[in-house]
């Protein structure tokens, strides 16, 4: 029960973060050159004067700054994030339509990186100072230094241009008109390269953390006890150490959730993946600041939610955590 109180405590911290993002957004609108109404209308000059006047009215831009602030917060909390002229659609609807592919890409990369990273970390720690450990640490060091967008381009050169194994870009092959199971296989084929490009950095990160965390556990008393009881090494590693060593990796995964979204912006741009990242890139090209702010708000809220899920997982795995 006290664990749930702890979770409630974390939840109470999450809400001010969402509020803080709105404050930051409002501050950024003020910082942007030009009138706030034209910023909210997107690309300068694209909006009609009537619409700009309507915006001024709705967001109270002729009123004092503090009133403007509350109007902005009130609108945003009702998911009224403004209108994108370039896309001729409300910002929130645009974002909602693109959320699915981004979540699919992020969760695939994240899940694969977490599973493989944990496995490689265990492998490296168990075979410490062997050639396997050395190989794993060299590969992680390289993955750790590779820019994701460049990795994506190189994957395209090798696997699409030269070997012709995988499609270069997009979400699915609409022209083929696949349905049901075949459609998912097709999407999966499109997902392989972006997922790899996005996930490899995190794979390296989790491997490093898991290895260090496993090595830290080796000296613990409970490991000595288990060994004294005559348990097999396999059982000690998988039955006892794995769960304890996994906790720091999970914490790290929560901390890195924000960066995962940033990485997916770049990866989606490279592979023409129709998610939030491509939307952000297009907004960038047309300097549609309001759409960018909306994407920022939604993805930051997404990070807050991911953090809460990670928190929930942590308290399930580690019953010692209490408020």
């Amino acid at each position: 029960m006290r664990r749930w109180r702890y979770f409630g405590y974390r939840l109470a911290f999450a809400l001010p973060v969402v509020f803080g993002i709105l404050v930051l957004n409002f501050f950024l609108i003020q910082l942007a050159p030009g009138d706030a109404a034209s910023v909210l209308a997107g690309e300068s000059g694209a909006a009609s004067p009537e619409y700009t006047a309507m915006l001024r009215e709705k967001f109270g831009l002729d009123r004092p700054l503090l009133e403007q602030f509350w109007a902005y917060i009130g609108n945003a909390l009702q998911f009224n994030l403004g209108y994108s002229f370039r896309n001729d659609s409300p910002v929130f609807e645009l974002i909602l339509a693109r959320l699915g592919p981004t979540l699919l890409l992020m969760l695939t990369a994240f899940g694969a990186a977490l599973t493989l990273g944990t496995a490689l970390g265990v492998l490296a720690a168990v075979a410490r100072n062997s050639w396997r450990d050395a190989l794993i640490s060299v590969v992680t060091l390289i993955c750790y230094a590779t820019p994701v967008f460049w990795l994506g381009l190189m994957l395209i050169v090798v696997f699409s241009v030269n070997l012709n194994w995988l499609p270069t870009s997009g979400f699915e092959n609409i022209a083929e008109g696949y349905e049901g199971w075949e459609r998912w296989v097709d999407i999966g084929r499109h997902l392989i390269m972006p997922g790899t490009a996005l996930g490899l950095f995190y794979l390296a990160l989790y491997t490093r953390v898991m290895r260090a965390s496993m090595l830290e556990q080796t000296g613990m008393d409970y490991v000595t006890t288990a060994r004294a009881k005559g348990q097999t090494e396999r059982k000690i590693v998988f039955g006892h150490m794995l769960r304890n060593a996994f906790l720091p990796v999970l914490t790290m995964a929560g901390v890195q959730a924000g960066n995962l979204i940033g990485g997916s912006v770049v990866v989606e741009t490279v592979f023409g993946w129709p998610g939030l990242g491509t939307l952000a890139f297009n907004a960038l090209q047309s300097r549609d600041l309001n759409l960018l702010l909306g994407i920022f708000f939604i993805s930051a809220s997404l990070v807050v939610i991911i953090n809460l899920v990670v928190e929930l997982l942590t308290i399930t795995l580690d019953p010692r955590i209490q408020a």
Binding site: P33, Y144, P147, L153, M154, G258, L284, L292, F296, V303
Partner: protein, 275 residues
Amino acid sequence: MRAALKRFARNRMAVLGACVIGVVALLTALSPLLYPAGAFTLAGPPLQPPGMRYLLGTDALGRDVAAGVVAGARTSLLIGLSAALSAVLFGSLIGALAGYYRGATDIVLMRLTEFFQTIPAFLLAMLLVVILSPSVLSVIIAISAVSWPGIARLVRGEFVALGGREFVLASIGLGASGPRIIFRHLLPNCVSAIIAVGSLLVASAILLESGLAFLGLGDPNVMSWGLLISAGRVTLRSAWWVCTFPGIAILLTVLSINLIGDGLNEALNPRLRER
């Protein structure tokens, strides 16, 4: 200090990293001699493959890729170092204030730090560059604005650990002011930890800069590795070399700085190794 240098020199990977960075810095210094015409001028026919005449080939506009890579090194090092330095200064200040004064100051500053750690850093950096309009300075501001939280938490932790030590209590007893204790007594004790983490920040700053430049958010008048790669994307199918070499440059530079950072960490904080 000499002992630390010796420990650093014994770490072969760190020395290798230092050598690579030395070569990159040397190339940057020699670039006016090597490529006096600059990276934006036409050097020959477009899309020449790498060879004797053009070491790394030419791009779709006939610009020498090697000249671009050398010019990009200067940009990356400049932006990486300045952004990391300002992030370290700002982060240290926030961490020092939170760790020294504790109480309400601590709570407010640490909530702020956690907030900046939670929000998607790359998106915030993108927004800042768009709003400030792309230039070398705005890229530096944007990168440091998203890079300081780690340093702030580190310095706060060190301050909290040092807070009750005798030399601090003695300074308070002698009537030293808060700023004097912070800057003369506590911060110098954190320098080795700050250097180790700060050097890794240079690497992540270079990666961030290349990502921003790739999305077209770099200074349009300054050659950079990210810009080269984004320009080479169009000809990816026919001319792989335009994208490949600047990427290898980023990879080698970031890898080397990470190796140096690990080496510095081991050399300056030897106690950490025993843990």
